[in-house]
Every structure is written in C-alpha cells, then in structure tokens.
C-alpha cells in the first residue's frame, strides 16, 4: 500500500457537509453577528437551526437575487451573513448581484454552495459549470475541501477570514476521511498527501478520494505517483504546483466539475507561465450534468463522465507517456 505524508490517515468515508455544519454551528455560537440568509433551501447537515439563534435566521424565500443583495447590506452593517444553497441558485442565479453588490465592495458574505457530479437531481441541480464561472471574479476566496476534516477546518477558516468567500459543498459520494485532526489547514495553501516520483495528481474536493484510489492502482503497475490537494482554488498556491511539476515532470488534474476554468485550467496556466510541463485534465468535458444512480457498487455518472479512479490512473499513464516523449 502507498505511504502518505504526516497529516494523512486514510479512513472510512464521511460526509463533507457534516464537517461544514459542525464548523458553522461553532462559528454561530461564537459570533452573534453571524446570520443565516435562507432561501427556502435548508439542508439537515448544516445545523444552525437552534432555538436561541432563531432571530439570526433571515428567511428570504426563493428570491436569491434579493437574498444576495440583502446579505451584502447586512455585511455592510457589520454582520456576517452566510448563504447556504445549491450553487446554481444562490450564486449562478445571483451572479451579477454577487459581483456588483458583494465583491466590488469586498463585503463579508459567506457562501456554502452545492455543486458537482452526483445523483438523481438532473441537469438543473447537478450543475458542473458554476464553480469555474466564479473563478474569474475578483475578491472571492474559493474553497473546495477534500474530506469532512478539511471541510470543518476550511469552514472555520472561512468564517474567521474577513471578506467574501465560498466553500463548495460538493455533490458526490462521501469522500474518504483523509486528514488527521491536527492537519494544518490554511487558506491559499495546497497540501501534498504524498510526493511521488513519476507523476503528480493535483486534485480538489471529492476527486482527492479518487486520486488516492488511483495511486493504489498505479502502484500495482510500479508507478510512484504523488497527490497534491489544492483545496483553495483562489488564491491558488502556485508555488506548491510548480514544486510538484519540478519533482515529477507530469501533472494530472482532477476535479468533480467542468474542466473549463476550474482547477485544471488554473494549474495549466500556472505551469505554462512558470514551468511548462506535460498535463492531462480530468473533469467534465464541456457538457451539462444529468441524473444518474449512485450505489455502493455502481456510480453511473462517474462512469459516464469518466471521473473514476481508473480514469485518473489512465490519465496519469497518458501523461507519463507525454513526459517520456519529450525526453
């Protein structure tokens, strides 16, 4: 079995939403100025709904554009509003409201946004393109944690950070428990799960789990592959990415969303500008999401979009061939 760096202990799958919910609850208990902006879309795993916080729940109904601007104004008056919804509804629907009313003035609004390749909900809700569309917006911190431990730490960091930020609550099967409790999360810092020699998988969110599976598959074929977890898409940790490229000379990116303007493109740009390196992207290729059944045995969508461990492993082998062709 593959060996892992210090703060990694691969364990049972756990829901990232639980980690987010735990940190939100703690933040709400600590800071009376934290407010929940609700858009008729509460999820059970986010537990801010306690009796003594009832007057901090601003229910705006299914009117996300209004909700975003109300949140902006509350932040302008010193509150910390948190919006929890599907990304397509809270952020894509209110894209210009977020740009104009929140980001221009750097207002301290937090988003917990659901998106990703998963489940039966279909094309309207299983969006894959919203995350990338946010990357172009200035002043927005973008977090995509890999497991429940990191989700809790990232949410805590997001609530402490002053300024607009979004954490992606990924729609996916539950990822492995990856990190130990003493894992040091920092906004803007990537973390190397293992360094590797032949190639590096730069993964984010749920795809770190598939990357871990891919490492085991590749090890059986005698390949030593590293994994770099980039949980902050913005600001991007270019230094860690370039260091990984220097070490292995072959980069595969893996993300549970569109590969346009997401992690893959961000890494490709960082490397082209600093250290041109063979690169293969794994992600949804210019296509909308759709419904699919997920059971323990079978994940129809992961098959359809080629986002499973074997697809990541194939991409690694393809990339290593590219590297060798350049020699």
């Amino acid at each position: 079995m593959a060996t892992w760096n210090k703060h990694v202990a691969i364990g049972e799958p756990a829901m990232t939403g639980k980690g987010i919910g735990k940190a939100i609850k703690a933040a709400f208990q600590k800071d009376p100025k934290a407010l929940a902006i609700l858009e008729d879309m509460q999820f059970p795993e986010i537990e801010w709904f306690t009796d003594n916080m009832f007057d901090r729940m601003i229910e705006c109904g299914i009117a996300e554009q209004n909700g975003a601007c109300v949140a902006a104004a509350l932040a302008a008056e010193g509150f910390t509003p948190v919006i929890n919804n599907f990304l397509f509804a809270s952020m894509s629907r209110a894209y210009n409201q977020i740009r104009q009313s929140i980001l221009v003035d750097r207002f301290n609004v937090k988003f917990i946004a659901r998106e990703g390749v998963w489940g039966e909900v279909g094309v309207s809700h299983a969006t894959v393109e919203g995350w990338g569309s946010l990357r172009v917006l200035p002043n927005l911190v973008m977090l995509n944690p890999a497991d429940a431990v990191e989700a809790e730490k990232a949410t805590e960091a997001m609530m402490q950070y002053i300024g607009p930020a979004v954490i992606k609550q990924e729609m996916s099967p539950d990822p492995f428990t990856i990190f130990t409790q003493d894992y040091p999360f920092n906004i803007g810092k990537a973390y190397s799960l293992r360094d590797g020699r032949d190639a590096t998988i730069i993964a984010t969110g749920y795809m770190v789990t598939e990357a871990i599976r891919a490492v085991d598959l590749l090890e059986k074929e005698g390949l030593d592959v590293g994994v770099l977890n980039v949980s902050t898409l913005k600001p991007l940790d270019q230094e860690a990415i370039v260091a990984a490229a220097e070490r292995t000379g072959a980069i595969v990116t893996a993300e549970n969303s569109s590969d346009i303007n997401g992690l893959g493109d961000a890494v490709a740009c960082a490397l082209c500008e600093n250290l041109p390196t063979p690169l293969v992207k794994v992600g949804v290729e210019d296509e909308f999401g759709q419904s699919g059944l997920v059971t323990d045995e079978k994940d129809e969508l992961r098959e359809h979009f080629a986002l499973a461990a074997k697809d990541v492993a194939d991409a690694v082998k393809k990339c290593i061939k590219k590297k060798e062709a350049l020699r």
Binding site: Q65, N66, A68, V70, E77, R99, S101, R106
Partner: protein
Amino acid sequence: MSHSDALVQELEAKAKVLVNDCLDQFCTFSQGHVGGTMSVLEIITALYFHHLRFDPKNPDWPERDRVVMSKAHCCEAIYAALVELGMYPRETLRTYYCHASPFQGHADRWCTPGIDFSGGSLGQGLSFAAGLALAEKLKIKYNPPSRQDTFLPRYIVRYNPKFRTYCILGDGELHEGQVWEAAMFATKFKLDNLIAIVDYNKWSLDGPTNDIMPIEPLVDKWKAFGWTVYEIDGHDMHQILDALDLVSKQYGDNKPKVIIAHTVKGRGVSNWEELHMHLGRGEEMMKGVREGRAKYGDLE
C-alpha cells in the same frame, strides 16, 4: 406641516447650484446621464441639504441616514451634493469619468466616501436598502438569549445606531423583477424605516417607459405589495419636503413607504426635455450645456 417659503427658496437656489455642478461634470467628456440626473436634482437637494442626517465631516457616521442610489447612472446629482457639502473640492467635478477619480461613471462605495451603495446594475438597490433597513431593525430586536448556554457570550456589545434608509429608484428600473422581490421582503420584515423614492420621469433609454414595458398601475402595484404610497410632483420643493416629513413621522407603523415623484426627464433644459435625453453625447449635449449655463449662470 408646511415649510417656510424662505426654506423652499433657499433649497430651490441650492438646486440651481447643483445643476451647474452637474453641467461641469457633463462637460468633462461631453457625456453624461443628463436626463435622469436633471429629473432627480430637487429630490437630492431636499435630501442632502435639509432632510437627511448626514455629516459631511464624518461620512461613515453610524447614525447617518443611508442613501442607496439605485439608479446609479445619475450619481452626478449626488456628486454635486457632496461637492456643495464641502466633502470634495470643486475641481473634482472635472474629473468625473476619469481614471482614479472618486467620481466614477457609476457610484462606487469602495472609492467614494459619502456613497453608500455601488450601483449601476439596475434592480439591486432596493434589496440592498432593505438589507440596511433590516440591519437597523436587527440591532433593535436582538436580545441576548434567555436560556443559559455556556457557548454564548454573556454580554453582547451592541451599538444600536438609529437611521432611515432612502432608496432612489428609476422608473425603467421597475422592470427588474428583483425590485419586486425586495418589495415583498420589505413588507415581510416590516421595514418602516425604509423609504423608496421613484423618480418617475416616464422615459427610459429606448423610449417611453410605459411603452417599453408598462409599469402602470404603479400606485396599485406598490399598495398590493403592502407599501404606503405617496404621489408628488418631484420638482415642487414644498411637496418633496412635505412628503419626506410625512414618511419620517410614520416610523413605527410597520410599513415600508414609497414616494412616487412625477418628474420630467432632462428637466430645465429645453433641448434635453424635448429629446427626453437619457445619455447626452457630443454636440446635442453641449448645446444643452450652453443653454443650461445661460439659464442657471456659470458660477465659475
């Protein structure tokens, strides 16, 4: 509740000074949103030079009344008021539209002290204003939790500034669905500290507002959304002052208020009035500026 003629005359004179300041801004690049700026000038004058709690020396004063200029393309009118209040030197007017100027093409809170809202993308102002009004309410409403919970702070430091929020909307802007989302929201949260003012100048960029997309019956619409509605002549200083006084006195009735101000686009300059000019450019613009100068007097 009528106001003295002396006050009205003083404010009317001030409005003319603001016209001149706006003409200065229009001259910078021979361009500006002349129509909507000229139609809202008396309202801005009444707000900034009589009605608002606003301290030019301390534009971030927590107890200031908030002004959300939702039709932020007409921010020239507010810039003129801020100059006349001594917040910015007169030369700043000539930097309107310029790089790094505090007087950006559309109002920008981040770089212009005195501005409460970065507008320009229409339809968002009333939501933002409702959020500000809600913040004022929350501070009043909030009580430390009654049940003992060791996690919650024992004391909660709350500074409770009291303020009103004024939101200036264009009539064409009422085509935006978000305005009506905000209208519902304000009623739900009983935002009696929120006052919307519709600058109803009847003309949008492409033509008459009610031809482009009818907004009438406007009074009934606002009433149906639970608002208290007043209709005034938006160029009559007596009526403006009376309406502002009236809405302020009704704090505590749990209802948001809207003043529908009937105005004339491009008011005061015949050329702009005839053309219902929205965005003035080039020679048409300068023709109007010359007429305005002749009429209101170049104070420089």
